[in-house]
């Protein structure tokens, strides 16, 4: 029940975000000085902010950056993590220790600090944002891929394939990948929620995608000075972020327990 509620919320926000491309939403940047800090009504459904901008439109457009990051970074990280983790789990020995040093090095910088550094020195573009967040999704995927590869590499069908003279590449791609893929993919929802938090934090700190593009994180920080006048400027995006992250965590948790090696083998 809760799982389906969570899924519906994510699909709803996703559909609304995509629909901004062809539905006539009010321009999220248009400032209507005749209707500043307005509460809900017929024209502005959930009201306007301190500059008279339509908050409903800003909330939907603000989801755009979050979802663009959530639907790209984890998959870049997954592709790299799968490659590293499967090689580490399959070849073991030197490859394994090499991969583990690489993962340790990624984790040697606190993520927010490296992200601030990259966006500051190389420029706050969406590509830099996606890449630096993707970088921090690599360790998680690598660990899951490695653990599952270790497990499946001992199974009969892999030994049979090797006995038939299959190459390493063929075993990795044809025998192991389809099995390792499932638990790794199940992890992606939890990683998506992590990327939304990270993007939101960067936007909130004012180091993410620069204005005027609306993002949830910056909407919250813009509303801070108006908290006594109009708390909704900060509270609506806060609520949207919380529901989105909670939904992804609920869905991700369910998927992970369904596919977890440890949980299912116990």
């Amino acid at each position: 029940m809760i799982f389906w509620l969570a899924t519906s919320w994510i699909l709803l926000i996703l559909a609304a975000t995509i629909s901004t491309n062809f539905l006539p939403f009010i321009d999220p940047l248009e400032q209507d000085y005749a209707a500043v800090n307005e509460r809900w009504g017929a024209q502005y459904w959930v009201g306007t902010d301190h500059l008279g901008r339509d908050m409903f439109s800003r909330l939907i457009h603000g989801a755009g950056i979050s979802f663009r990051v959530a639907f790209t970074s984890p998959f870049i990280g997954m592709a790299i993590g799968l490659t590293l983790g499967m090689c580490a789990g399959y070849f073991r020995g030197k490859v394994d220790s090499g991969v583990s040093i690489l993962i340790d090095s990624i984790l040697a910088f606190p993520n927010i600090v490296l992200a601030i550094a990259v966006l500051f020195f190389a420029g706050p573009t969406i590509i830099n944002l996606v890449l630096v967040i993707a970088f921090y999704t690599i360790p998680q995927f690598t660990r899951v891929a490695r653990a599952n590869t270790l497990l499946y590499a001992q199974r009969e069908f892999v030994i049979a394939a090797r006995a038939q003279g299959a190459s390493h590449l063929r075993i990795l791609l044809r025998e192991l990948l389809p099995n390792v893929m499932v638990p790794v993919a199940a992890y992606s929802l939890l990683v998506m929620s992590f990327t939304i938090v990270l993007e939101g934090t960067l936007s909130f700190l004012g180091v993410g995608i620069p204005p005027p593009t609306p993002t949830w994180g910056r909407m919250i920080s813009e509303g801070l000075d108006e908290l006594s006048e109009n708390p909704f400027i900060s509270m609506y995006p806060s609520l949207f972020m919380f529901l989105t992250i909670l939904s992804l965590n609920l869905m991700g948790d369910r998927l992970r327990t369904m596919t977890d090696v440890k949980a299912s083998s116990l």
Binding site: D104, S105, P110, I112, F120, S193, T201, L227
Partner: protein
């Protein structure tokens, strides 16, 4: 001892990697580094010929990369991270002023987090499976989905603006006004603690549940000891080890949280320094603060590993 040596040796490549990455950041700047640092964002001026020459010399831009890195590293080890081109303050001096503020925030938040986690975790574990326990677990799951800046914003709205109990920003020196100083830290520390305590609580809950099944707990019970005594003296002790590990694992999250909370509550700590320097495009200061945080992070992680080995000798033997 072999474990300690191995762990410390492992630090060397990571140290060079982290410092090299920090050093290379200036080279990521688009165009000429000197132009990027000296140019004024508002007027577009790029500084006098003398100033440009002086900076070029200071950054050793006329020398090969590896020599520049070696010189920079040499200065850094001696505590010289350069000088801001916006405020003309040396980076190290700015850091020294702000470290105590960040430390106070971190320590207060950790104490609060532990103070919240221990009673709730023990209660939840003792009544494992009950309605209250399931309610607490669901609540913890919900809290883990709240980003730290959302929690802080809601707290400011509720406690500072609607109720008016605590200030939402402003920092006073402890030496001038001790109570004002602590009052200013309550809301920020509480925000950080709220975000961190569910992780500690969950682990403690699982620990209590498994400890309560041990034979020595049954013995203690049969000797007629009170529930309260058993829980605190017998059940809590084995969990302290997991606590240390967790606190270590959470340092990364704590650093992130501190940067966010200092910015949100205008607390003049290291995190606020970083974000302010980004705002004023103070390249040398940003590089210096990032280098500092990265080195502290690596060293603290090493110390946690070592503490881990001291607390549980099996860790050292296994490696």
């Amino acid at each position: 001892m072999a474990y300690l040596r191995l762990k410390t040796l492992h630090l060397i490549p990571v140290f060079f990697l982290v410092t090299f990455a920090s050093f290379m950041m200036l080279d990521l700047l688009p165009g000429d580094t000197v132009d990027a640092i000296l140019s004024d964002a508002d007027t577009g001026e790029i500084g006098s010929v003398e100033a440009r020459e002086a900076l070029r010399k200071e950054l050793n831009l006329d020398k090969p990369l590896i020599v520049r890195y070696a010189l920079w590293l040499g200065n850094m080890v001696q505590g010289d991270l350069g000088r801001s081109y916006v405020t003309t303050q040396p980076v190290t001096e700015a850091l020294v002023q702000r470290i105590p503020v960040s430390l106070e925030l971190m320590i207060m938040s950790q104490i609060l987090a532990i103070a919240m986690a221990i009673p709730i975790g023990i209660y939840s574990g003792y009544h494992g499976g009950s309605t209250v326990d399931r309610g607490i677990s669901a609540f913890a799951f919900g809290v883990l989905s709240v980003p730290v800046f959302v929690a802080g914003t809601v707290y400011i709205w509720v406690f500072a603006i609607e109720l008016g109990w605590l200030p939402s920003s402003g920092h006073t020196d402890f030496s001038k006004d001790p109570w004002g100083n602590i009052k200013g830290f309550i809301l920020p520390a509480l925000t950080l603690a709220t975000i961190e305590f569910p992780i500690l609580m969950r682990v403690l809950r699982v620990d209590v549940i498994s400890t309560l099944q041990e034979d020595y707990i049954a013995l203690a019970k049969s000797k007629g000891m009170t529930t309260w005594y058993i829980l605190f003296h017998h059940a809590l002790r084995p969990s302290s080890f997991t606590f240390v590990t967790l606190l270590g694992l959470q340092i990364g999250q704590l650093i992130t949280g501190t940067v966010v909370i200092e910015t949100l509550f205008s607390i003049p700590g290291v995190g606020k320094l970083l974000i302010d320097s980004v705002d004023t495009r103070d390249e040398i200061m940003v590089q210096g603060v990032i280098t500092f945080i990265a080195i502290v992070y690596v060293v603290v992680n090493l110390l946690v590993d070592l503490l881990y080995a001291v607390l549980d000798p099996r860790v050292a033997r296994r490696a």
